[in-house]
Symmetry: C2
Subunit: 206 residues, 2 copies
DNA sequence: GGCGTTCTAGAACTGCCATTCTAAATGGTA
DNA sequence: TACCATTTAGAATGGCAGTTCTAGAACGCC
């Protein structure tokens, strides 16, 4: 067609991801993103209609990468491996992990809501991830999925591993070796299938 | 002395806490805080030297309230009760819980660092909390404190309960009853004292 | 090889927000 | 009662960041 682009959508997303990972959402100003890429600020608007569009696109990319690593394992019912998958994923590129795991979306999009198509894509990603969880839980029990078991699975496979590595992401540097053991023991000690009514300890009834 | 103040330090902190809890850090502009209190914007500067001063003061207050509820239990070695203490604390006032548990400090203070005295107070609070953890871990073992055990204790008592209730804080509304059981079983299944080398399962060695 | 489309390039605009400033009000004290 | 430190009150300021605008450059097609 016409003039070849020097700057791709991808490189703007990459720059935004790095900036947020290193300095928080406020560090990812349009000028900072442009400066990092070496482009004029105006060029960003040829790819993204607004700041929240580029930030939410970066969020979607990171979320898709993460859930894409876990979902296949979940669908096979391999909960433990799925929980451990966060380790290679987060060390593969630390910036994306810091971006995704250290910031709530609400802190990114509070000024302006992201455009509809990007928001819809995130909803699709979340639904796909949710259905993978349901498949995992169903595979482990009698096929039915109770809310409590779903919450347990999400905690064991998603939130707990994140909580385990989060302090080390904040400090920076490599993950200590014992985080793998913690995730492992967590799965050995807390089953996804909720024990219906017998408290583990007498005091637990409370 | 002189003219009596209509607006206290406390009510500005309260307003800032609510605004962040409801709409994220960017919602807590100086004018929004003032409007919520019914004061002119200038009045805030008679109590706080800057925006990051008031936000960090609010952070310190919430952090002190939370750690103050846990520390006494920790020092007595009552890890399970400490882990469960987050439940009454967070339902006592949901706004402070949302403020503290849903936002990393980095997203609050990224524009300007908080003034030195407030930062130092936070360091004191963090040290006190850390020492309570060390006391708890020491009380449960032979008195020595290994890094791994400290990390386990922080996860079991602090990060994991937060991770368990976070999804429900994000959605809003009351906590489902099974979160208490999850925290309980977590402590029954994953001991603070690290099992030195015997994997729980054969595959765990990895 | 001109032409139109798409891009770069960067200056200009707009609005918002933290902060400051000036003036008026207040109320205990001397 | 007069004083004056402190506060209210709210307008003014200054800067920054998102967004838009204008001009010019590059490339592939007809």
């Amino acid at each position: 067609m016409v003039r070849t682009a020097r700057f791709s959508e991808h490189c703007f997303i990459e720059a935004a991801t790095h900036l947020v990972a290193e300095g928080g959402p406020a560090a990812a100003t349009m000028q900072a993103i442009a400066r990092r890429v070496g482009a004029p600020t105006g060029s960003i608007y040829h790819r993204f209609e607004s700041r929240s569009a580029i930030l939410s696109a970066a969020w979607n990319a990171a979320y898709a990468s993460f859930t894409g690593a876990l979902a296949p394992l979940l669908r096979e019912g391999r909960a433990r491996e799925a929980a451990l998958a966060i380790l290679p994923w987060s060390s593969k590129d630390e910036h994306r992990a810091r971006f995704l795991l250290l910031h709530e979306p609400v802190t990114l999009f509070e000024d302006a809501p992201p455009p509809a198509p990007v928001r819809e894509e995130l909803e699709r990603l979340e639904e796909a991830f949710d259905s993978a969880f349901r498949a995992c839980v169903a595979a482990r029990g009698d096929g039915s999925v109770r809310e409590e078991e779903l919450a347990r699975a999400r905690f064991l496979i998603f939130d707990a591993p994140i909580a385990i590595i989060r302090p080390h992401l904040l400090k920076g540097g490599p993950l200590p070796p014992f985080v793998e053991r913690m995730i492992d023991e967590l799965h050995a000690g807390l089953p996804i299938a909720a024990t219906p009514d017998q408290g583990i300890r007498p005091m637990a009834a409370a």
